[in-house]
Chain length 879, copies 2
């Protein structure tokens, strides 16, 4: 919560009984002298013990006329979590959300009424439990008010004061000042002053309060004198000046960040030649950014005369509008978020790794977090082929490693030398992939994608491969439409319809489709390899969903067929082995090389699954490759080496399991970069020899940095817990509501050839559709089926779909009124930033051309999804 | 400290007066029942207050016959930091190092004597200051003993107990158990038990101790009863069992890590076909790993029958040898270390960023840590050309970005299209660089280096450039020898000698050399560009020192000349602009394109400085490009935009300042990956247009992750503080001892042509050399000149040098006795792991072929360098 004019501070204590209320009283008296009538609010959100002893009563007594409020008052003098239980009064707010909402409401009202100051006093120590049992520093964290820590002036108080600071600091609080009584016996003030000055925090000593007198009147009189003297002292006056100045600095810094960024930052993927609104993110919590959006700041229109300096004339501004808006992070911060922003457990885990190791060398060395992560990832993926882990820093480098692995394996098997160029004259070996793929921004993996607007201007980009156009899916007017590409449909796009997601994944029922795909793949490969002499070294796929290429839902049957065709027909790829001449004659006998007795060995081509975006539960399952498995595939007899006993519902059959897979993004719960490339033993053995130069010569400085590994271990443990303990059952049920009846009768609608995919004249109606997926298949979305179905009928959309946490909307070209598809999606994106829901929250989303997408973290609640759904529909309905 | 048989625990209190001594007494009684006579040690390292009230006295009273020790006893009942000051008794250890050394000694003696258990009891709370003023959790951190936290059972104790845990946890401690009294009034135990179970930590309740009796005898009796009952209770017995089990698990995990790693990890840059000793790093602190080295473990020879399981029969092992050896991290963990491992300030900074943000989206957004870092880096570098910051994840991706920037700029200026290939048929534009360069492991930047054993097996590596062989320097027998490459020396290597580093950097006195270099560069470029039709798009340099390519000390005058020749003669590069035909005719008139009125604009070629390894004080200066500046260069009139007022001694002239520079490694103090690519406004403007596809389409998911940015801000602030506050003056003085006399008389020795660089017959003797560098030039090393000079005379070395924190030794081919140079350096490397100094520390170093190098962090002390120097000399002297 932040306003230009209302300055609110939260008072925390290093321990109970350190003088929070005494200091709060002094501050309130001092502030009241500066405030207009009703300009100061004292708020004690939670109080325990008899009313007569309550802190707000004390404040009212010694700060006459103060506006004082308490939200949750419990009668027993216990910790609030016990007092709340014993009181059992349901009229008193006890949930974290309700207390925070009450505080927001009271502060907003105070701001509206022209309030300039507020003091919020907590109860007990910084980590004393609130009524729900959450520790206070977590309970109040969404507000992230600037904080005053009342230090402990007694023996031992140095330790408790610094520890309390550390607990606040690791939760992302800004500590404005430490205040404690100057007890000369223990001298804590001097030590703490020096300690906190290193953190740029001032530490202030107040005189010890008077000893308690037996005579109540005398006691009251000396206390009143003490308060008067203290609150009028230079020390306190200077403190208030300092606090005000910190407030103004924060506001000034926040509001000037967008223009300061313009001067110095070269943003990723941004055309700086086009003006763009830059959002300043003050902090984040859970799924929300606390963001300053210059476009919604009335101050900016006032100070429009100096738009580039960003320095706004603070005094003249309307004070009542909050500067920060919570924005749901609907791109999951570029697809990384797993356990929420500012998660204190993750922060503490990161700190532990930093404190135990920092970073330590990983060449010829090992440490516990990296070793644990290696075993944990393998047991999470349940891929029967994989047993080796290579560490790097991000999805792009992880894919570079995968490419180096795969190309070496195939070049070695097929006897290709990098200095023999194939017929395109550029490179001895290239990639087989899909149109619309994207594998990262480094040049090597850019070369794994087909030419597109994303790479055409990169001077060293050379498309090294062939990319098949895949059949893709969209939900339109309640039906799943499968569009076949021109190259497969022979004259005009052909559209098939399915009445459920389950029908799409019912591969056994789709044998005709599989046969058609197989024929197309074989014909294509024959043409490329035998007729054109192309050499392929790897099959690279983003299983099920191609992300950066435009959020394309690929028919899983097509990817499955591609893998099985190549594995079953290695001669389609490797026919040139041992053929020393360049005649391109097929040497069928060399297929024998493939006939390895090791069923884990790769065949045809090493299959690389780029699961950077799609894996680790982004689509609802640990491994997105598992979507290509059929329930009738033979499951592996050997599970991979694993320390954790686990039986995950969606298994990967050996037949379609990739030989190499790459994982990043969600791997570290959305905290920091780390990537893992996993490989089969057969791939690993390709690099074994007695010569160092045959090794995989790749290794970034921070390879397997402990902080990333330890956070990833924590993230995987949390993900697996949620996958198995029912956390997501509500989402799953939305997609399987009537599955008990329909489950055994999954049928495919008849194939209907339609002249154009965009024709929507074929009327299939009656939403909402009933799903046909059993929970066991784990094919579901965090976005309820009825909502997605409703969207599929929306006139502003050209189709949509949802998989796991991802919701994708294809915005109709003419719906923006401008004719430009990207403008239509962008205007929806802009609108969602300012269309606030009933809790005052907007949505921060990303667009890709005519696609706008929304993504939750793995901890987003059904209630949050419902609020998002309402807002999205409301924005779509506006015209 | 870790032994197989001796189990030592450290007892911390959540606050003072929570019952540490009572619990310690109970534990000691329980342990003594299991231990042999003298098998248990109670150690109170620091105690304050009268002897009669001392904790060790209490223990001796209630645990009869116990072996009890106190290291530092102060008489006043105050916090140790005050008590130590007031006592002023110099015979009592007060420094952190002396207390830790005493503990190590006592525990080692205890282990030698067959001790099985030890309890160390701290004083006050976890962050109460020790005698030196350091907080205890920092003071004892190098030991990293498993910890028991005594919780606070009073009101407010939930908060202080959890905060105390968090303070220990972020310092990398392992907490084995929380123990507190079961005070039913406040019920802290139940809450804490639930809280800590989430961290896998057991929380134990003990009965409240008896109330104090007035009669001392009665008091003693009831207390004795209490101790007896407690120590024999099932609760405590189970606790001891648990603690022992945790100990054995830790030992078992540690010793089996190397073999477990063999089964699953694919190590970077490792040939897994060659057996190699894998070191298990338990933790790290300051400059040291705490490492388990299987080669030095006697248990492994006993259990040699099952080398692959790694499970060693613990019971049968010699118990007295410590399992962990402190190893100086002399590769600075692949050149990353800046402020020491396990630095609690850095850990807390990382935690704050994680708690405030996690990671937040950076596309079209900005946050404070990223914005601050952008300004801080620019003001640290003091490069007058740079004003834009692009974020990525590591040196390799940072260089990929730099290459994309530079190539676009030159292709745009010279009108080159990526689809026009130059005469080598591969690529329209290539790199001009130096032989021996290395810029990272992703394929794009691998293509920026010349063919070598490091990249020849990478199937997609295509060397796209020309690499000049640079003159390089080595200190041999007290003289700096400059070796000219064959391509410049015309028939036989020519060697020049300099009597000081200062003479090398006295560019004004080396005008003849500069002229010779200039002629060579011009001739080469003319041949490449005009005669062969090559197109160059960037000049890429690692200023002064080429790292991964073999630690080559490049003549700075050569790099300086290369930059100035290209900038002054753009027609050497860009003559083909506007020539639509392929005739290769020089079109001299197009030089006019270069004549920009903007002096910051690039000329000839964008100059890219790869400072990933060499920058940010690795070589003693903020920017390694500054080594190429001359003191007589005109300094820029405009300093870059900066928030910090600073006047750094080594400035970068506009004439040689790079147009793009890349920074990583030390950037985050050695904690986690982050890279910054900085660029000039002219480079930035190349990408401006109204089309999104012209933008720099690069951006990793965790771009500008706040945790990296905030840690980097902290690191830069610390580095700049040390650079200016005299921290490194001792090092600087070693290189300028007699500079006041010699400074103005820097002379160059006469050029002597010697038939072979390896000939060492020319006798120049009389070490130690006196340096001739004034501190102001900041050309110095952390390794003292006299030590480096001594090394230069060593018969096992073929030369050496030191720059900043880096010491490089070229090991003579025949000194290893095997004839293989790499074996000679590797055997020295192996020896240093087990050759322990007087504090029991070894050295963990890295080799590159016949080069072995040693690197300090930026906080390594002169005393540590001296210990390292002694060990290195001792190892060299062994034969």
């Amino acid at each position: 919560m932040l306003w230009r004019d209302l300055k609110a501070w939260q008072v925390y204590g290093a321990n109970t009984d350190v003088g929070k209320t005494i200091v709060s009283t002094i501050l309130c008296r001092a502030l009241q002298r500066r405030a207009s009538p009703n300009g100061l609010l004292y708020l004690k959100p939670v109080s325990t013990g008899p009313q007569a002893e309550a802190d707000d009563r004390h404040i009212r007594q010694y700060v006459p006329g103060i506006n004082s409020k308490c939200i949750s008052q419990f009668s027993r003098p216990l910790s609030p979590h016990l007092a709340a239980k014993l009181d059992g009064d349901s009229s008193i707010p006890t949930s974290d959300a309700s207390i925070v909402a009450q505080i927001k409401k009271l502060l907003s009202q105070h701001s509206q009424a022209g309030g300039r100051y507020a003091i919020l006093e907590t109860a007990g120590g910084v980590l004393s439990p609130g009524p729900s049992g959450s520790v206070q520093a977590d309970l109040y964290r969404p507000l992230r008010l600037p904080t005053l820590l009342i230090g402990d002036s007694k023996l031992g108080g140095i330790s408790t004061t610094i520890s309390a600071f550390e607990s606040l600091h690791l939760r992302g609080y800004d500590l404005d000042s430490v205040i404690l009584f100057d007890d000369p016996e223990w001298g804590n003030h001097g030590y703490l002053q020096e300690h906190f000055s290193k953190h740029g925090i001032s530490t202030l000593a107040l005189p010890m309060p008077p000893a308690r007198r037996d005579d109540p009147n005398e006691d009251e009189a000396v206390l009143a004198d003490y308060y008067r003297e203290c609150s009028e002292s230079t020390t306190v006056t200077n403190l208030i000046d300092l606090l005000q100045q910190k407030h103004f600095s924060r506001v000034s810094k926040l509001t000037s960040m967008p223009s300061q960024a313009e001067a110095v930052i070269w943003h990723p993927f941004r055309q700086h030649g086009i003006p763009h609104n830059i959002i300043a993110i003050d902090s984040a919590y859970g799924d929300y950014f606390q963001a300053y959006n210059p476009e919604s700041d009335p101050a900016l229109s006032i100070s429009a005369s100096s738009p580039t300096t960003g320095l706004t004339p603070l005094a003249a501004l309307p004070p009542t509008k909050p500067l920060l808006t919570p924005l749901f992070d609907a791109s999951a911060s570029w697809w990384t978020q797993g356990l929420g922003h500012g998660n204190p457990e993750i922060a503490l885990t990161a700190a532990h790794a930093a404190g135990r190791y920092g970073h330590v060398m990983f060449a010829h060395a090992v440490h516990e977090p990296a070793l644990d992560l290696s075993y944990n990832l393998l047991s999470t993926l349940q891929n029967p082929r994989l047993n080796r882990i290579f560490f790097s820093d991000n999805g792009s480098t992880g894919m570079e490693v995968a490419v180096k692995m795969a190309l070496r394996a195939s070049c070695q098997r097929y006897g290709w030398n990098k200095n023999d160029h194939d017929n395109d004259g550029h490179t001895p070996v290239s990639i087989l992939g899909l149109k619309g793929s994207y594998h990262g921004d480094t040049i090597g993996v850019m070369n794994c994608s087909e030419p597109s607007v994303f790479n055409e201007k990169v001077d060293w980009h050379q498309p090294w491969g062939h990319w098949l156009e895949p059949p893709s899916l969209l939900l339109r007017k309640g039906m799943w439409e499968l569009s076949l590409p021109d190259e497969m449909a022979r004259g005009g796009g052909t559209v098939q319809k399915f009445d459920s997601l389950g029908a799409i994944f019912d591969f056994d029922a789709r044998r005709d489709d599989a046969a058609r795909y197989e024929e197309h793949i074989k014909t294509t490969l024959d043409s490329l390899v035998r007729q054109q002499g192309r050499r392929f070294g790897a099959l690279i796929l983003e299983p099920l969903l191609m992300g950066a290429g435009g959020m394309i839902f690929v028919d899983p049957l097509f990817q499955r067929t591609l893998i099985t065709v190549i594995r079953s027909n290695p001669e389609l790829i490797g026919s040139r082995v041992n053929s020393a001449n360049e005649s391109g004659v097929v040497d069928g006998s060399t297929g024998g090389i493939e006939a390895s007795t090791n069923s884990q060995d790769w065949s045809g081509l090493p299959v690389v699954a780029d699961e950077v975006f799609t894996g680790l539960y982004r689509l609802g399952r640990a491994s997105s490759s598992s979507f290509l498995s059929s329930s009738t595939d033979t499951l592996p007899s050997h599970q991979p080496q694993s320390q954790v006993q686990s039986s995950l519902p969606a298994s990967l059959s050996t037949a379609i399991a990739p030989d190499i897979s790459v994982h990043a993004k969600l791997l570290t719960a959305g905290l920091l970069p780390l990537a893992l490339t996993t490989a089969s033993e057969a791939i690993f053995q390709t690099f074994l020899s007695s010569s160092k130069t045959d090794a995989l010569l790749h290794g970034h400085s921070y390879t397997a940095h402990p902080i990333g590994c330890m956070v990833a271990n924590k993230a995987l443990a949390e993900y697996r817990r949620m996958d198995t303990d029912g956390t997501w059952d509500g989402f799953k049920q939305s997609w399987s509501a009537s599955s008990s009846a329909a489950n055994t009768t999954t049928t495919r609608s008849s194939i209907s050839a339609i002249s154009s995919p965009s024709s929507e004249s074929s009327s299939t109606s009656s939403p909402p559709l009933s799903g046909t997926i059993s929970p066991a298949t784990n094919t579901y979305s965090f976005w309820p089926l009825h909502f997605v179905t409703t969207l599929s009928h929306h006139p502003r959309l050209d189709g949509c779909f949802a998989l796991g946490t991802v919701l994708v909307l294809k915005v109709a070209a003419d719906s923006g009124g401008s004719g430009y598809t990207s403008t239509a999606s962008s205007s929806l994106q802009s609108r969602l930033l300012t269309l606030l829901d009933n809790e005052g929250c907007g949505i921060h989303s990303r667009v890709l051309g005519d696609i706008i997408y929304f993504m939750t973290s793995l901890t987003t609640s059904p209630e949050q999804v419902e609020r998002l759904s309402k807002t999205i529909l409301q924005a779509l309905d506006e015209r």
